[in-house]
């Protein structure tokens, strides 16, 4: 792999950037791999990378029906944080956070992880109770966080209206300083490039349309473009399509796929310092390095694979942002888009064995998948390497929806992200 550095950039500039290597190969499929990852989004690529890097399993293929990182990786609002309530999810997301903190160096690809801090606002007494509960749990789980009052919020985000005026005044917030945002596309590309360098084969425009089974166990996939490819184990990481792929394998998931919309303003001069999220007024906002205000809210209430939602959701979202930041009223919304999120009843993911032997699913991240990318990949890689759930993945079995061991993170998962 050609190493990236400032020095390298200067060198390439002198040759008019004509000699940059390809970031990944265009391989031809082998008849059999140790592991096939279905889905070349951030999580799938991270899984492939850690399989190769941590578990030395390099005979790995990633098959992607579109282009790498083209699903929710390309469509999310890039918030990274780990301040989850329950131990199981807190440990998982904090594991991800620690990986984020060294990710650019690990991948030799700047994912622009910017630890600007995340505010989760409280507007009611119960909000504040929940915030205290969560921050206390975070603290005892070794996750940074503090509880701020309205004044403290104002100091971090001076343009926010922290007075008594708003319909739901800001009473305080939890603040996780290590949280922040990252450059979403770079995460997928960085993992893809690094995985490729370790020998992982990446296939784009390669759609899985069936599983090959023998004695109830999965032994490979069939693809539209490259026919059959066999594998020892198969991991499906197909957010936004999990139900469809599970159906191919012959079972159902405790998942519903919903549209999740987001939007950006026109680029404006820096005005926000951190990421602000509010469940009560329903919206979150941060500002990208390019200057766009990046804004989102909750999912649309109906099932949808259309990557579109309802305009009313956008309206409510923008009302919330203008209510929090009245000075943004004259700023303009540039673009809106939608992703498809696989939601579970407890707002926690599924990293799990399935009713089909050798077939594993990693899905159900709902609105919060991006932040987990490294942790998800790391834990799922271990699961695939072991052939059973890793310790971090174990609580996230799909069968918890049978026995009732749900991990209800609705409060922490909140409006999304």
């Amino acid at each position: 792999m050609q190493r990236y550095s400032g020095f390298g950039l200067v060198k390439h500039a002198l040759s008019y950037h004509e000699n940059w290597q390809r970031v990944w190969r265009n391989p031809t499929p082998k008849p059999k791999y140790d592991v096939i990852i279905v889905g070349g989004g951030g999580h799938g690529l991270a899984t492939a990378y850690y399989l190769a890097k941590v578990h030395n399993i390099t005979n790995v293929a990633v098959v992607e029906k579109g282009y790498l990182g083209g699903g929710n990786t390309a469509r999310n609002t890039t918030i990274v944080r780990s301040n989850y309530l329950w131990d199981e999810s807190a440990h998982l997301y904090e594991h991800a956070m620690k990986l984020w903190e060294g990710l650019s160096q690990e991948l030799n690809y700047n994912v622009m992880f910017s630890q600007r801090g995340v505010l989760n606002l409280g507007h009611t007494l119960q909000d504040m109770r929940d915030i205290n509960r969560r921050v206390n749990a975070n603290r005892l789980n070794g996750i940074d966080g503090e509880v701020l009052d309205a004044q403290g919020v104002k100091e971090i985000e001076p343009m926010m209206d922290c007075s008594d005026r708003p319909r739901y005044p800001v009473m305080g917030a939890s603040f996780q300083p290590r949280a922040g945002v990252a450059r979403h596309d770079a995460v997928a590309w960085g993992y893809a490039r690094a995985a490729d360098a370790l020998g992982v084969d990446l296939f784009q425009q390669c759609e899985v349309n069936g599983f090959i089974k023998e004695d109830g166990a999965a032994i490979g996939v069939t693809t539209k473009q490259h026919g059959e490819i066999r594998a020892g184990r198969i991991g499906c990481v197909v957010a936004g399509n999990s139900g469809v792929v599970a159906k191919m394998a012959g079972f159902r998931l405790p998942i519903e796929s919903h549209p999740l919309q987001a939007l950006v303003s026109e680029p404006i001069k820096p005005i926000l310092n951190s990421v602000t999220m509010s469940n009560q007024v329903h919206g979150y906002v941060s500002q990208s390095d390019k200057g766009d205000l990046v804004i989102g809210a909750g999912i649309d209430g109906y099932l949808g694979y259309g990557q579109r939602g309802s305009y009313a959701t956008i309206e409510h979202n923008i009302q919330a942002i203008v209510e929090l930041f009245p000075c943004f009223s004259r700023v303009r919304m540039n673009r809106q888009w939608g992703g498809i999120v696989d939601t579970t009843a407890d707002a926690c993911p599924i990293m799990s064995a399935t009713p089909v032997e050798n077939l594993f699913f990693n899905c159900g991240w709902g609105t919060g998948g991006f932040k987990a990318t490294p942790g998800s990949g790391h834990a799922f890689a271990e699961t695939l390497a072991l052939g059973k759930a890793s310790s971090l993945a174990k609580p996230f079995s799909m069968f918890r929806f049978h026995d009732g061991a749900l991990i209800d993170e609705h409060g922490a998962a909140g409006v999304a992200h």
Binding site: G243, V244, R252, P254, E256, L303, G306
Partner: protein, 98 residues
């Protein structure tokens, strides 16, 4: 933004008057006490979640307060039909039994 024909009001109304309530035709098991955990879990949480035709339950919450069913394409968002509780859909997948 959907424009939904309410089979009780018998006219199209704006989506904002309605609320989606998940997949339709999931009856409560008649004998819950004798369901296994797995069966009960399937009833509670497992859904067909199709890409394509979906039968779903909606309520005209800000309107006549009636629940009813919609058959909708989850990709194009086209509504094929709406029908009252107890009625059967006209539009179904080939392999589907409702």
């Amino acid at each position: 933004m959907f424009y939904i024909y309410c089979p009780y009001c018998e006219e199209h109304r704006e989506e904002e008057e309605f609320h989606a309530s998940g997949e339709a035709h999931i009856p409560r098991p008649s004998d819950p006490d004798n369901c296994t955990d797995a069966e009960w879990g399937e009833y509670l949480f497992f859904r067909t979640n199709p890409r394509g035709l979906h039968h779903e339950l909606w309520v005209h919450g800000i309107g006549c307060r009636k629940f009813f069913n919609i058959t909708r394409d989850t990709v194009s968002y086209e509504i094929k039909e709406t029908y009252k509780i107890g009625a059967k859909p006209q539009f179904t997948h080939a392999e589907e039994k409702v």
